[in-house]
Symmetry: C2
Amino acid sequence: MQKQPTIRDVAQAAGVSVAVVSRVLNPGSGPVADATRRRVRDVIQALGYHPRTAARELKHGPPTTLGLMLADVSNPFFARLADNVVREADARGIQVLLMTTQEDEHLESECLETLIERRVSGVIATPTGDNLDIWKKLQDIGTDMVFVDRSIPSLPEVDVVGIDNVESARSATGLLAAYGHKRIGIVSGPAVSTTGRDRIAGYRLAVEAAGLEVDERLVRHAAFRGAAGGDAVTALLNLEEPPSALVVANTAQVTAVLRRLSHAGLSIPDKLSVVVFEDSPWTELMTPPLTIIRQPVDLLARHSVQLALAKTSGKSNGKPTTIRVAAELVERSSVSRL
Amino acid sequence: MQKQPTIRDVAQAAGVSVAVVSRVLNPGSGPVADATRRRVRDVIQALGYHPRTAARELKHGPPTTLGLMLADVSNPFFARLADNVVREADARGIQVLLMTTQEDEHLESECLETLIERRVSGVIATPTGDNLDIWKKLQDIGTDMVFVDRSIPSLPEVDVVGIDNVESARSATGLLAAYGHKRIGIVSGPAVSTTGRDRIAGYRLAVEAAGLEVDERLVRHAAFRGAAGGDAVTALLNLEEPPSALVVANTAQVTAVLRRLSHAGLSIPDKLSVVVFEDSPWTELMTPPLTIIRQPVDLLARHSVQLALAKTSGKSNGKPTTIRVAAELVERSSVSRL
DNA sequence: TTGTAAGCGTTATCAT
DNA sequence: ATGATAACGCTTACAA
């Protein structure tokens, strides 16, 4: 464990001033004679010098860090999102600070404080929906914010990236209706989440478009964490007139729902047709292979990073942007004709 | 977008010196009158002041950041690891910089440079096995390093956390042998990875212990990324005397392997018995439910964070530690009696 | 082309 | 109990 050389050490060893070293470090920031540049480079190499990020940031906070605040990285959807965000960011030379809220507003508020103290250039987040004041504060200090997957309607000045949840749920439900199902249930995210609400909205649209009536008993919300998804399914199955088809629109709860179905001995698609919002490679391996709504995670990530960096890099009209990318309905074998 | 108040603004508004403000910010760093403390606190609140991390780090680089360098976060195993590491770190008030190498040494070297420039207090990583010199450099500047899941034997001064791969593969293979299987195949990670090698070693042990001979044609290595896992299985199935049982010991490739099996119309466990290294909740939902080796990701994460922070916090004997946690063989229904 | 010196926002060491 | 002030390592006018 040795003391690290500073820019001064380099300057001294190279027989130049720190300004010159700084200039070779940041090309374009000023003229340096070729010979000098070479000499300095060699010394840097020899000494194993690395400029210290903290000092650079302090001087003129360069946008080199992005905060990524997700609900839960163990959820494959968010995991893939994180993977793609990190790659996109890395390609632009910027680093990602990963935080998870576990859907807890208190944890979220702590993360937000940290983000403020770090003066990150941008934040990509799946907000819980709470902590409005802190979000505003973060915005005030000039942090570029992007909400991904969900949003907070009362924070309209934020960029949003996600799929068209209404349309996706509509097409999923529509598929079920087209296959002759009359009683279609849905398990979606919490009613407070925009995602959960939008998917229910799309569901209603499709049910009505099919000339059916929306039976509120068939509409269930499940919290993101815990066994809520399973309970919702159980409730659905215990109905006097249980559904013959089900839309599982809560990505976080898909496995919980399927586990309950399996334990109940429900065979898919004979007893129950199913279409789920999920990207996991495992869905294809199920018996039968599951019909799914696939979200283009790579696009979500790319747009998020782009937006998070757009304002900083000047290329932004200043107005908040909302990007909706199309989700794909992948038909496999978990839906039967009634 | 407004200018953020500094400690000086707070001092002025509160009618005290910056030193006093600093003291109320860092309790225990010096005496402050109760009345003064309250007044300063109020001003901080009113102004919405947040101390700037970059400045703090510059002064006396406090170990507030941990680097987490994983191969691939879209792999559920690493995703869950990341989730747990972030939680453990957060509980200790420290933040996580997430980076992915995609198993690429070049990308890894870039990540390492970044880590050096940031002067992170510690790094938790799944190393590619390359970039020895940079790893050493990182170590030289006093970064606490922990390798998780794999290791680099030629870097003995690094803490290592993982499961006992030899023993895990031994027990998985042993189970198959106990069920009467004579020809047992294995698909493991690349031969260069310690993980891949160890699992093969455990496999050999078990095969020999069962009084069988190791047929090298039944031993396959598959790269972490791409379709290598599937190809390995195909090769195995095309053997003159194909295996009746298979250990899939490459966590990153499990779905690829299963997909190939499924496409080949191989029914599990009738045609082929299978036990896989995998933690995904989906394994239980498969038909039949898969017998798996489950890695205690939470323990791996906890130990990793502890070790990464131990040296900094002084509580370390200085000697490199290796922690092996037990993996669990979860018997389900993908193994048949022969 | 190169050097000097003034910050950036904190913390820490002295005095007071 | 509080206040000046010197670092920390870097960038950047401005001078030379």
